[in-house]
């Protein structure tokens, strides 16, 4: 993806269209490793001082670029955009009479940009070092190891937990929900209802559930009742709407 961004100063009036028309250079958003990277790029391209960023102008340019970002990349960029807009407003607020009492609202951003610039420098150094090192090739062909059993493995808890984190991180969300394992105990519920009905002919729904039922108990009991009703061993009735269910033993077929 490429986006046009202006090099020329584009002050606050209607920035976006101006940027598009000028399109003096092209920014590839895919090539940036984050909003700080993009910000640093805008600053460098225009040879601006990090310590004295023209916030209004940079904020508008930044917005023009991320306007065309795909949503899945956008969260971190949007956060930076809102930060820039806040700064832009803060810079417009009247300052207290003396310069002394005034704290530059850009200070935090400047600090982060300077930090990030250092990171970029080190990353560049590392990239070069890795490239130099990549020219030196280690042994390619290793003769198959003697036919011995492998070394006794080493393992520690940290390694295992690290693997757990990787596994968890790799799990797709739908899978998370399919494994809520709370087995229904239909057989248990059936047995409980049958036992109750041996001594009585009628039960209420609450009695069938037993004390302090969980949601799985409720489901198990419901399924058990339906199954017993299907087999003709009992009848489930609700005398009136919204009244408790009444469970009645089927006299004709209860004795096997």
């Amino acid at each position: 993806m490429t986006f046009p961004v202006a090099t020329a100063p584009a002050f606050t009036a209607a920035p976006a269209p101006v940027l598009e028309r000028e399109s003096a250079f092209v920014v590839e958003v895919d090539g940036f490793s984050g909003p700080l990277d993009l910000l640093l790029h805008l600053i460098r391209e225009q040879r601006l001082e990090i310590s004295d960023i023209p916030v209004a102008r940079i904020a508008d340019q930044f917005l023009a670029v991320i306007d065309q970002l795909q949503l899945n990349q956008a969260a971190d960029y949007l956060e930076m955009a809102s930060r820039l807009l806040r700064l832009k407003i803060q810079m417009l607020l009247p300052r207290p009479g003396t310069e002394e009492g005034w704290e530059d609202p850009r200070a935090e951003l400047v600090r982060r940009l300077l930090e990030y610039q250092q990171i970029k420098e080190v990353a560049l150094w590392m990239g070069r070092a890795a490239e130099r090192r990549g020219l030196m090739h280690p042994r390619g062909y290793l003769p198959p190891p003697p036919d011995l059993p492998p070394e006794p493995p080493t393992l520690d808890l940290l390694e295992l937990l690290m693997a757990v984190d990787r596994v968890v991180a790799g799990i797709l969300h739908p899978v998370l929900h399919s494994v809520v394992a709370r087995p229904l105990d239909v057989e248990g519920a059936t047995l409980r209802i049958e036992t109750l009905l041996q001594n009585r002919t009628e039960l209420t729904w609450a009695e069938a559930l037993g004390p302090t039922p969980t949601i799985t108990d409720v489901l198990s009991t419901l399924l058990a009742l339906l199954e017993l009703a299907r087999r003709g061993l009992l009848r489930v009735a609700q005398p009136h709407p919204f009244t408790p269910l009444v469970i009645r033993r089927e006299a004709t077929r209860s004795a096997d």
Binding site: P150, T154, L155
Partner: protein, 194 residues
Amino acid sequence: MKPLAQLIEAALFAADRPLTLEELEALDPEVSLAEVRAAVEQLRDHYDLDGHGVEVVELGGGWQVVTRAALAEALERARVVQRSSRLTAAMLETLAVIAYRQPVGRAEVEEIRGVQSSGVLRSLQERSLIEVVGRSDAMGRPLLYGTTPLFLELLGLSDLSGLPRTEEFSIALQPPAVEAPPDDDAAAYVEAES
């Protein structure tokens, strides 16, 4: 050592296979096959005359550099040639799934990890970290795996209850019958239940 012999030495060292004279010829567009052959022989003689620990050998039309057979015993003693005792990332991940969800079948391991896992399961079995503990009732009666006493021993645990259960474990790694997992959805679920 002449430049061509030097290049051939580097090639034989870095290649992941024995190299033919034709392959070695590709190292330098200006050399002939005869020159390549001469340089290979020069390298071989150099190793022999200077008493190097490696030698150049021809095997089935390909050339390679190998360590001298006389040194094999010392290399084995120092364990520099043995398979690493470290477990690979794939092994560790598979082991993690099995440790927390055992007994568990291959299909479930693969579903959680999102990759084919039969080779890794075999390696873990070879290393006595997992074993077959039974068969599932599911279709095809697949094998179920669990961890071994060696697994506990390596972690210094007396039993599986010593495995940490950190808060961020998702449901996928909770053993099927344990208390509710602590993420938001599950919390809502528990509330609805009681």
